[in-house]
């Protein structure tokens, strides 16, 4: 029986990342998908499976019609938004490993800046009396920045992490974006002072520069078997492991009701599975791509994966470990703060490029890349 580790990502494609794409979300999905399929040296007729997010507005059959595909035999969607971005690859790889599909197209496309912005309160009003009261929205938790900050604040409090500490991550990510031509902030590095003088978005946790770049754009990938990958156009990138972890008592976004909010419990338990499934450990990871809708996530995720002890991510980052020449380069594309926020999916593409050896900020001899979205993750490696 084949396993997830018998599958590979064989094609990647994307549109530009912008603040106003000027075209429909379906067009973005189609452009990115065709680019990924062609990158693999395949045609749309070779695709028989599709995976995206529950939140994606592009219907599978609409995309199928647009690409001119003949038949589709597998569909699946991952819940939880960005936290499950890495789960899309698990869903696609599981389909290929089981034989349910031969080649799965993974896509995510949206006009998240020019259309409905995640970062703004819902114009329909979560707090309106028509909707009735709610345990969260009625109290003013009406944007992701606020919703997430209520956990982050506990982490900052417990370990004495300051907003300036967060800023050191942001400066690093923006330095990576500055040398990545595909990044929104290409050529625009910042200083710690720039970070510290940006306005509060959620006092006392997040400043403007701690927040990801809401963007328009599409990304896509093709997953097929490792055997078939050897005959395709690009060097295949093995899915050495891919998993999710969701824990008792947990909630998405409003995850306030477990005893200790100063760690990412799911990241810790997911990591145990990733190491067990891949036979690798922290020491084998050459690059880490970490989902960060907001800067504190990087700190909690680094600690959850065991790259440093709890509360010590601020020192790990301050000591330069996550830079391009550090012991664990993190978010070499600039991350979602620097390259763009395509719901975490652009970080997977960067992982693929690092293993292929084609990244703008290529890490020499990068062999194994961890792509983490805190509660879903994967390890990418050579065939």
């Amino acid at each position: 029986m084949s396993k997830i580790s018998d599958t590979a990502i064989v094609g990647i494609g994307q549109t530009e990342f912008s603040k106003n794409s000027g075209r429909s979300e379906l067009q973005l999905a189609a452009e990115a998908s065709l680019a990924a399929i062609q990158d693999a040296g395949l045609t749309p007729d070779d695709i028989d499976g599709m995976v995206t997010f529950t939140l994606d507005s592009n219907d599978e059959l609409d995309l199928m019609r647009t690409l001119g595909m003949t038949e589709l035999n597998w569909t699946a969607r991952g819940p939880f938004g960005g936290g499950a971005s890495a789960a899309t690859i698990q869903l696609a790889a599981a389909a290929v490993a089981s034989g349910a599909a031969k080649a799965v197209l993974v896509y995510r496309a949206f006009n998240e800046r020019s259309g409905r912005r995640f970062g703004q309160p819902d114009p329909n009003g979560y707090t309106s009396t028509a909707a009735g009261p709610d345990f969260h929205f009625s109290y003013g938790l009406d944007t992701p920045a606020k919703i997430y900050s209520l956990w982050y604040q506990r982490y900052l409090l417990k370990y004495g992490v300051t907003n300036e500490d967060l800023g050191r991550y942001v400066v690093t990510a923006r330095a990576h974006a500055a040398t990545n031509p595909a990044a929104w902030y290409y050529g625009k590095p910042i200083t710690l002072e720039d970070h510290q003088t940006s306005r509060w978005i959620v006092e006392p946790v997040l400043r403007l520069l701690d927040c990801c770049q809401e963007s328009d754009g599409g990304v896509a990938m093709v997953v097929t078997s490792a055997d078939r990958a050897r005959d395709l156009a690009q060097p295949g990138v093995r899915v050495a492991a891919a998993t999710q972890s969701h824990r008792k008592g947990g909630l998405i976004m409003f995850d306030y009701y477990r005893e200790d909010l100063s760690e990412f419990e799911e990241t810790r338990t997911m990591t145990e599975r990733l190491w067990a499934d891949s036979g690798l450990t922290q020491n084998d990871i050459d690059v880490a791509m970490i989902y960060e809708n907001f800067s504190p996530v990087v700190f909690l995720t680094l600690e959850g994966h065991g790259f440093c002890k709890r509360g010590e991510a601020k020192d790990f980052i301050k000591d330069g470990h996550i830079g391009l020449s550090g012991s664990l380069p993190v978010n070499t594309n600039g991350g979602l703060l620097g390259e763009g926020y395509i719901h975490g999916m652009n970080n997977i593409l960067e992982g693929v490029r690092q293993v292929r050896g084609t990244a703008a900020n290529q890490i020499k001899d990068a062999k194994h890349v961890l792509v983490s979205a805190s509660r879903s993750g994967m390890i990418l490696g050579p065939l």
């Binding site: 970062g119 009396t129 009735g132 109290y139 003013g140 606020k146 909010l261």
Partner: protein, 125 residues
């Protein structure tokens, strides 16, 4: 508001902070659930909380694009009953809030709805 949490808001209208407790095993579930995750019972009663608790975490909620928005302090309150609530902290400033500060419930009308909110009591915890 749903079938599972209507009791909470009805209680608030009467100035009572009600929590859902399992009729079989007494487990308190918040936010409320339709089935007791402990014993799988489907019958629920309510217990009235004392309204006393301590601050676990907090932030200031302002509109992201409206700099003059005065903002609301959003807190996580750990109630004496062992339950955590999201609420607002009234009559204080963001830099006066401390972890573990004792708080007590108060019922305030916001946008036509009575919400349980909290004030710091100044007691030693």
């Amino acid at each position: 508001m749903s079938k599972d949490d209507a009791f909470f808001w009805e209680g608030a209208q009467e100035g009572r902070l009600l929590l859902r407790s399992c009729a079989s095993c007494g487990e308190i579930a918040h936010p409320p659930l339709p089935m007791c995750p402990h014993c799988h019972g489907l019958e629920w009663g309510t217990v009235e909380a004392s309204g006393r608790g301590t601050v676990y975490a907090w932030l200031c909620s302002k509109h992201p694009n409206q700099a003059d928005d005065k903002g609301r302090i959003v807190v996580l309150v750990d109630l004496e009953e062992g339950v955590r609530l999201v609420s607002n902290l009234l009559d204080t400033e963001i830099d006066e809030v401390t972890a573990g500060a004792p708080v007590a419930v108060t019922f305030v009308e916001v946008d036509g709805q009575i919400l349980p909110q909290f004030r710091m009591t100044g007691d030693s915890a």
